[in-house]
Amino acid sequence: MRVTFTSRRQSAHKAEGSIELAKTKRGFDWKHKHLLTIAQLSSEEIRFLLQTAHGFSDVSTRSIKKVPALRGKVVANLFFEDSTRTRMSFHLAASRLSADVVELVAKGSSVAKGESLRDTARNIEAMGVDVIVVRHDQSGAAALLADSVNCSVINAGDGQHAHPTQGLLDAYTVAQRLGRDDFDLSGITVAIVGDIQHSRVARSNIHAMTKLGANVILVGPPTLLPSGFSQLGCELAHDFDEVLPRVDVINMLRVQFERIQSQAFPSVREYAALYGLTTQRLAQAKPNVTVMHPGPLNRGIEIESAVADGPQSTVLAQVTNGLAVRMGVLYLITRVK
């Protein structure tokens, strides 16, 4: 599907924006060799990155879905945790930029024999890799790698800490859906709902949305929403129904059963009743509210199927946009020595 920006506000904006850009072009001083967190980026850098991603969005709609921008570069996917979307998305993004991609699966590799993360990465780098895309269950793993190797490192999710490309693609999707061609999200209120505590998606989303000017309300049971999150400039709420009518975007998080160690809520059924997004509950929200979910979906728990597949859902647009965003990230970081 072609990524297009459609609203009317948008087209007026676009016309002005492109004239301004054309007049004042033609460069932006991008300094980051690694993408570890969104916290490391300024609002201006996030906007430039998303603008760059938009420039790549048409590549996936061509008959030959390839441009030569990363010809001769090698990208290594180093995933120590399960992933479908992110791994494939990075693989495809790199392929569409004409880079070569190598995949390392932790099972069946030396990692299974006890090789340390740092040793694995250094060995991979010694084979002439330009970018390592890493996912790991330990927070800080990507930063550790970036300190250990000379090539670029992209964090594809580290523990509960950060998942920057998810935050970026979610911001891109909100901008696209609400017609903010300049990636300024001022005046938009975003609710992030569910298991905030264990969610790196939530953390990266908070940074991305607030830096672009949106208001963020975090919603979840007290056991999954530590009060410390208010320090990130968010409103905290435990009553989903009270928050619903006030928001423009609802980002439903997956309940991460694999990370929840103690009894965070009495039963899955009670969680679904209080925090699940059902058709009935959606009716209380603004009629044009945008519903997001990073996937994979727990259908019937945090989101009802009819909502996930409904017209307000951006679940699949998020996946499509993820590809453009990852192309943009790969392109920019490989241009920094």
Partner: protein, 202 residues
């Protein structure tokens, strides 16, 4: 403004001191009009009685060639969906050079290029490297019947075996090595002009 950027064309403050207007708005209009007449001649010669709207298309190289392509297409009465615009950033051969990152823009080719006579349009032709990149980019969309090249200004100084089919004005002897030719076109710029600018040490 969305982000801090530096201007490659005129420096930060816009039009700079050491510059002269080679062609003003009226002259540019005449040059483009004349170019259009000659392109029409080429295309008609190639397709015979078939309507140009069925057999031909224009593709401009961003960010001035696309404006020219729009104007030429209007003159040749080609429909809007026969006008494309190419961003060649990703196809440039100097991509690995460090420095400020160019803004990647979308390429928009709203028609199937296979079998068409396509006129590639750019404002200034010099080394030929942009044209090479544009040809490579365009070929990724399909196989045109024939590609033509039309430019407003031929600056000379070719580094590749590329020769335009139509040139509005040959300036290969009108400038010295430390001068630069810039084309401004509305609505991207404030006015239509061809400008010669001294670039001391730049």
């Amino acid at each position: 403004m969305i982000f801090t950027v530096t201007d490659a064309r005129f420096g930060e403050r816009g039009y700079d001191t050491h510059m002269q207007t080679f062609a003003d708005a009226n002259a540019v209009a005449r040059l483009i009009d004349d170019l259009g007449v000659r392109i029409r001649g080429d295309l008609t010669g190639a397709v015979g009685d078939a309507p140009l709207a069925d057999t031909c298309a224009m593709v401009g190289i961003q960010s001035r060639g696309d404006v020219m392509a729009q104007r030429l297409a209007a003159q040749l009465e080609l429909p809007n969906d026969r006008v494309g615009s190419l961003d060649i950033t990703l196809y440039r051969d100097d991509l690995s050079e460090v420095g400020p990152q160019p803004i990647v823009r979308t390429t928009e080719i709203p028609f199937a290029i296979d079998g068409l006579n396509i006129v590639l349009v750019d404002d200034v032709l010099m080394s030929g490297r942009s044209v090479r990149a544009a040809m490579q980019s365009l070929m990724d969309f399909g196989r045109p019947r024939r590609l033509w090249l039309a430019v407003l200004v031929d600056r000379g100084g070719r580094e590749l075996p590329i020769h335009p089919d139509q040139v509005a004005v040959d300036m290969s002897n009108a400038t010295t090595n430390n001068q630069q030719v810039a084309v401004t076109l509305t609505p991207t710029d404030e006015r239509d002009a061809i400008i010669i600018q001294d670039c001391d040490g730049a």
